[in-house]
Amino acid sequence: MSGVSPDLRSRFSGMSSINFVLILVVAAIVLSSINSVAPSLGQLADGLPSMINLLDRMWPPNTDANFLTRVGMRLVETFQIALAGAAIGIALSLPIGWLAAKKVSPIGPASWLVKAIISLLRTIPDLVWALLFVVTVGLGAVAGTMTIVVDTIGFCGRFFAEAMEDADKEPQEALAAIGANKVSILMGGILPDAAPSMINTALFALEKAVRSSVVLGLVGAGGIGQELKAAFDLFQYKNASAIILVIFVIVLVMEFITDWLRSKLQ
């Protein structure tokens, strides 16, 4: 046919029957998933009244001074968990990222092993870590802090390693020729070049830590989430709404602060 350009025809014939079958299979999986777990219109309609009812019972938020003081203390604890966890995690990520960085690592090809461990830390969700730590060190803020540490290493370890891998090679080779050892090359050649990207990563980690520290309390790992869970468990919906509003405000404030820091550091 002269109507179909050879280019187009080759593109059509480029789709092999295997690809076609694969696309069909993927489409079937997506559709059946929607069918089995997504809410149907009927379910949405049924749920709507109880949703409205819940909102009604949540309003107005509790502004009792004693209650707000308690929430304030929990908030401070939340920030402590986030700050301590992120700070320790970032500090540990420096050597771990270095060990994991290809071509830069002092342990050579074994760096992939460190990278694999970092991936493992990252793949397990923070609530699962929190549950593990609650079981091992008990309920409370320590479990929360440990969770944030692990989570931060999973995140910063990877991006620190990548930043170090991307650092300019020529200056590093020059320093090596001068006789610098691995640590001096790291301090004098790699870190100065990787610093902007690493600081950016660290700020994201801090932001992430605040977000996760808010929910860790749901599994008993300290912070304001614990208060939120108690409020729901005891049907104190006006308390719950106050806490949710407070959480909303801190997450916004935190984003604002880290954005501002990032723009300052550009």
């Binding site: 300019d168 200056p171 020059a174 001068i178 610098a180 050892n181 640590v183 301090m187 004098g188 100065p192």
Partner: protein, 258 residues
């Protein structure tokens, strides 16, 4: 006998005998028996077409790459394939290096980059920035910067300088620990002609004034002729000619590059 005895070792800065080098993943040897002797205080230009093995030879001389056969003697240290750790430390202490452009740490200050020249010396773990380095090293770095006329830029970030200025910083870094030998691989490549000549002139005058041995590679024949006492040409893994710079003819150059 591994290598032929040299006339008088005391005068000799660098001597190789029957030096052979083949990279592990290479199909043929890069250097096929190079015999080169350089006396103290000589300024020698190494020329040759791309891939003729100039950089490889420089790296073998200072023990950055292993030699397959033959031997190397640099600043009194004689070694077969690789220098021992102690020999290498001796070599590094007395040798300054300058490479092509882009070899400075961009985000560090000019002064910190010069202080880096101290890395590898005993106690030099503090030399990764000027701020942490001992003050006498900072002072030495400042005087090296004066030697290359950049003392007023000491606090600037390295990447704020022009290409020619950056290479002068690299020279300051190479001379900061008072080397007896300077090895420079294409120090003027990728600079514009004017700053290229400035850099070469600085180098050559500095080496001459202090009696430092200078071995540099260049693909600019005007540079090679103007800033050296001797020109050594590499071709097909061997020395094609080795003569006083003023005796090198156009025919010699044609033979080298054709």
């Amino acid at each position: 006998m591994l290598h032929t005895p040299l006339a008088d070792t005391k005068d000799v800065a660098i001597a190789t005998s029957a030096l052979k080098k083949q990279y592990k993943n290479g199909q043929f040897p890069v250097l096929k028996g190079v015999n080169l002797t350089i006396r103290h205080g000589e300024r020698v230009a190494l020329i040759g077409s791309n891939g003729s093995g100039k950089s490889t030879l420089l790296k073998c001389l200072i023990g950055l790459h292993a030699v397959n056969e033959g031997s190397v003697q640099t600043l009194g240290e004689t070694f077969g394939s690789m220098p021992t750790a102690a020999q290498r430390a001796q070599l590094r202490k007395q040798t300054g290096f300058v490479f092509q452009k882009h070899c400075l740490v961009k985000r560090h200050s000019v002064l910190s980059n010069v202080v880096h020249g101290m890395l590898g010396l005993p106690g030099s773990w503090r030399a990764f920035t000027q701020a942490t380095a001992p003050s006498r090293w900072r002072a030495k770095a400042m005087s090296a910067l004066e030697d290359v006329n950049l003392a007023d830029r000491a606090r600037s970030r390295a990447d704020a300088l022009s290409g020619g200025q950056q290479q002068r910083v690299a020279i300051a870094r190479a001379i900061v620990r008072g080397p007896r030998l300077i090895i420079a691989d294409e120090p003027a490549a990728s600079l514009d002609p004017v700053s290229g000549s400035e850099v070469m002139q600085l180098f050559s005058e500095f080496a001459q004034a202090r009696g430092i041995t200078l071995l540099f590679t260049s693909h600019d024949m005007d540079h090679a002729a103007a800033y050296s006492d001797r020109i050594v040409a590499l071709k097909n893994g061997q020395i094609l000619f080795d003569k006083a710079s003023r005796e090198v003819s156009d025919q010699d150059l044609r033979d080298t590059f054709q």
